[in-house]
């Protein structure tokens, strides 16, 4: 007993954990506001690392924000690295077409949350996301409006890529649109910085990124040294979706996704994509042969516009090195011919309801195409929280 006693007196920390929590509670952090300054209005989504709420500032109820909760419950390694990445990246990115991170707040420790303080990322509020808008048949985009959406999306990508950031999770649900028609790329939970491999060393990023339906062929084939073209593939998928209103390649498995890609974009062969044979999974995956490229043929009935078909054809290119980059895409005639890109504000003004994928009824159910406010089931919430995480 005695030696133990002795070590105990030795090992007495300056503050016990409880005292520490109390210290935080009473310490007024000059830079980190209390989340109580905002009042939650509704849950609007499920991000990579936590729930997202619509909220208003108590002091100024006109100011709406989105609060993204950082889930710490199951973190054995403290504050999640994915959240740290998103914060660091968003602090660096300030652009009209990138969601704006206003601040990070903390919720004081209390009995309720078992003395664990929680953190929230506070974003400016955007009324809609693209998946939500597309799932509502009452929302109709004309060609000029579609051009505006794509132009803003590519502008955002151009900006983040010039800042050496890969989004890595392009999909309609991560494209936000304000009621004034300004598009914002959101959810940088999977984003990371990249550098041109100037040391001659290839990058070794994880290829377990991007929601399956928007995942480009190089990732599906195990490429780890990838770059901005992964986001442009997603941009192409989203572009087609502007007309089809539903994701164009909905594979259930990586194999199936590759099959769907081959059926749309033609067989994946070293002839059209030199070097593909060296990718890790090239031999393991079953790649349909003798498939013709049908991007234009298949999408023409929806898109009609020849420039649109041509741009899409340049985005959904199998070989990432030949895929159009954001700059090339922005210079495409699609954006510079009549009808010119036109403001979305007017069209959106006809809809007073927020449209988020999270709040929308299942996209393919024909009985629920009016905007319903009902909450989706728990399982749907879990499903929409899907992400491969990154290490």
């Amino acid at each position: 007993m005695q030696p133990r006693e002795k070590t105990h007196s030795h090992s007495h920390p300056v503050m016990t954990l409880k005292e520490k929590e109390k210290y935080i509670e009473n310490f007024k952090f000059p830079f980190c506001d209390d989340s109580a300054k905002y009042e939650k209005v509704a849950k609007i989504g499920q991000g990579t690392f936590g729930e997202v709420f619509k909220a208003k500032e108590k002091a100024n109820s006109k100011k709406l924000v989105a609060m993204k909760k950082v889930l710490m419950d199951n973190e054995k390694e403290g504050f999640p690295i994915t959240a740290l990445r998103e914060i660091r990246i968003l602090q660096r990115l300030k652009h009209e077409n990138v969601v704006n991170l206003i601040e990070i707040c903390h919720k004081r420790a209390s009995q309720q949350n078992k003395c664990l303080s929680t953190f929230y990322l506070i974003f400016e509020f955007c009324e809609h996301d693209l998946a939500g808008l597309l799932s509502n048949i009452n929302v109709k985009f004309n060609l000029g409006e579609i051009k505006k959406v794509m132009q803003q999306l590519l502008n955002g990508l151009y900006y983040i890529h010039s800042n050496k950031i890969l989004h890595r999770d392009m999909k309609a649900a991560n494209v936000l649109i304000t009621k004034n028609g300004v598009l914002k790329l959101a959810d940088f939970g999977l984003a990371r910085a990249f550098s041109a491999n100037k040391n001659g060393q290839p990058n070794r990023f994880t290829n377990r990124v991007v929601t399956l339906w928007y995942r480009p062929p190089e990732l599906l084939l195990g490429e780890r040294n990838y770059g901005p073209p992964v986001d442009l593939w997603g941009a192409g998928c989203i572009m087609a979706e502007m007309w089809t209103r539903s994701p164009i390649m909905q594979g259930n498995t990586e194999q199936q996704q590759l099959t769907l890609i081959s059926q749309l974009c033609g067989s994946i062969t070293p002839a059209v994509w030199p070097g593909v044979e060296n990718l890790e999974l090239y031999k393991q995956m079953e790649l349909p042969q003798q498939q013709k490229r049908k991007v234009k043929d298949r999408l023409k009935p929806y898109m009609k516009d020849a420039y649109a078909c041509d741009l899409l054809d340049k985005l959904l290119v199998l070989d990432p090195s030949k895929r159009a980059d954001a700059d090339t895409a922005l210079n495409h005639d699609f954006f510079w011919t009549d009808p010119m890109p036109c403001d979305l504000g007017k069209m959106l003004a006809q809809h007073s309801q927020s449209m988020f994928e999270f709040l929308a009824p299942p996209r393919r159910s024909r009985t629920h195409h009016t905007m319903a406010n009902q909450r989706p089931t728990t399982s749907a919430m879990q499903d929409s929280g899907y992400q491969d995480r990154v290490f």
Binding site: T7, S9, H10, S11, P13, V14, M15, T16, L17, E19, K20, Y23, F29, F31, C32, K76, E77, G78, F79, I81, L84, I87, R88, Q91, R92, H106, F119, I137, A173, R192, A193, F194, S195, R204, R208, T211, L212, W213, W243, R245, S246, P247, I248, M249, Q250, N252, Q256, L260, Q263, R298, Y302, R364, S365, R366, D383, Y386, Q387, D388, R389, F391
Partner: protein, 386 residues
């Protein structure tokens, strides 16, 4: 974002000072904490950027909290833990603690309490709030290399100068310079110092313009000689500080913060590290002292001898442009991925993720949003408008 630069008066008026810790003592704590982060970092093969980021967090933390409230080695571990994640070189908390355990005396490690991991995790939340999630930190290293590329002169001498400056930058982490000046200015000052000591005189440089009196006028504005000398002295002072033989120990620790008003009583009660001298000071000069006008005698410090960064960052003859080290943001270090980035061994916290696809896999068919049935030949996704 908050301003992370302070003047000398503010540095004498810190929470620790208000908590009756003497200035010299606080500087020693800062030095020891920084040195410990550097040692732990190099033992764990963390790069210089991660280490330096951790040290900067450490210095910033104690601009808001007192050393009496938060024992320095716990804070140091926490800063390194967070810096590892921020710089994309994550280390598991328990491994950092394990390394800390191996570097610290029992008494010092006792400040980690009964549950060291929980201690560090709890502190992480305080740390994040204290530094306002301002995670991105720049260091003098990248500037050092950028500037060196522009200088003309004897290659071997230049390389020697740059290596010496690199060591000074390493050691500058043990001062509060990162709380006083931007990394660009520290880089210039310590290159100036290294230039003097290695007798490398910069006569010409790439991009020289008539109005530029000194090479650094190209990069920084309004830097006076007084300022440069001041920065140099702060680093050189590190080497002239006497090794504390009568180790005056850790913060006058108290069992609980409430009693902070009676500091002297607790030292023995706490029994913290009165046994041994602190982290050993740099050994006596191993290189003959060079006497140079204007700057104090320079005993080449054998401190922080983990020479890894500059050795590898520089091609031997310095003929090729030096490899620019990855900048603070994310880019993975060159070479094969460090062990921690490879697939996690079984049972480690960073587990791969098994998750269902985003959209429910069951696809209902309907005239409006019918997707392609997966196993069938492609069909229209949506009936083309007629």
């Amino acid at each position: 974002m908050p301003c992370w630069y302070y003047d000398k008066k503010e540095l004498r008026n810190t929470p620790s000072a208000l908590d009756n810790i003497e200035y010299d003592t606080e500087m020693r704590y800062r030095k020891e904490g920084a040195r410990f982060i550097i040692d732990t970092g190099s033992k764990m093969d963390l790069g210089y950027n991660t280490t330096a980021t951790g040290v900067v967090y450490f210095h910033r933390f104690y601009m808001f909290h007192s050393f009496r409230q938060f024992p320095r080695y716990v804070t140091a571990c926490c800063c390194l833990f967070l810096a590892g994640k921020v710089e994309e070189t994550p280390k598991k908390c328990k491994d950092i603690i394990k390394t800390a355990r191996s570097l610290l005396s029992d008494a010092k490690f006792a400040t980690f309490g009964e549950d060291p991991k929980e201690e560090v995790m709890t502190l992480e939340r305080i740390l994040l709030q204290t530094i306002k999630f301002d995670l991105q930190v720049e260091h003098p290293y990248s500037y050092l290399i950028r500037y060196a590329k522009c200088l003309k002169g004897d290659k071997a001498k230049l390389q020697k100068m740059v290596q010496m400056a690199w060591t000074f930058v390493n050691d500058s982490l043990c001062t509060t310079l990162a709380l006083q000046w931007e990394p660009e200015i520290i880089a210039v000052a310590l290159m100036y110092l290294a230039g003097k000591l290695s007798q490398f005189e910069v006569i010409d440089w790439v991009g020289r313009v008539n109005k530029h009196l000194r090479w650094w006028d190209m990069f920084v504005e309004d830097v006076t000689m007084d300022l440069l000398e001041d920065i140099c002295h702060q680093v050189l002072d590190l080497y002239s500080q006497p090794t504390p033989t009568t180790a005056p120990d850790s913060p006058p620790l108290l069992p609980r913060p409430a009693q902070t008003t009676q500091p002297s009583s607790s030292k023995t009660a706490n029994g913290q590290e009165k046994e041994k001298p602190e982290v050993p000071e740099p050994n006596p000069p191993s290189v003959p002292a060079v006497s140079i006008p204007d700057v104090p005698t320079y005993p080449y410090p054998p401190s922080f001898t983990t020479t890894a960064p500059h050795a590898s960052a520089y091609p031997p003859a310095y003929t090729n442009p030096p490899v620019v080290p990855p900048t603070h943001i994310a880019a993975p270090p060159p070479g094969p991925p460090p062990p921690h980035m490879a697939g996690p061994p079984p049972g480690v916290p960073f587990t791969p993720y098994v998750a269902p696809p985003h959209y429910p896999p069951v696809v209902a068919t309907g005239p409006y949003y019918a997707p392609t049935p997966p196993s069938q030949p492609h069909r229209p996704y949506y009936p083309p408008p007629s």
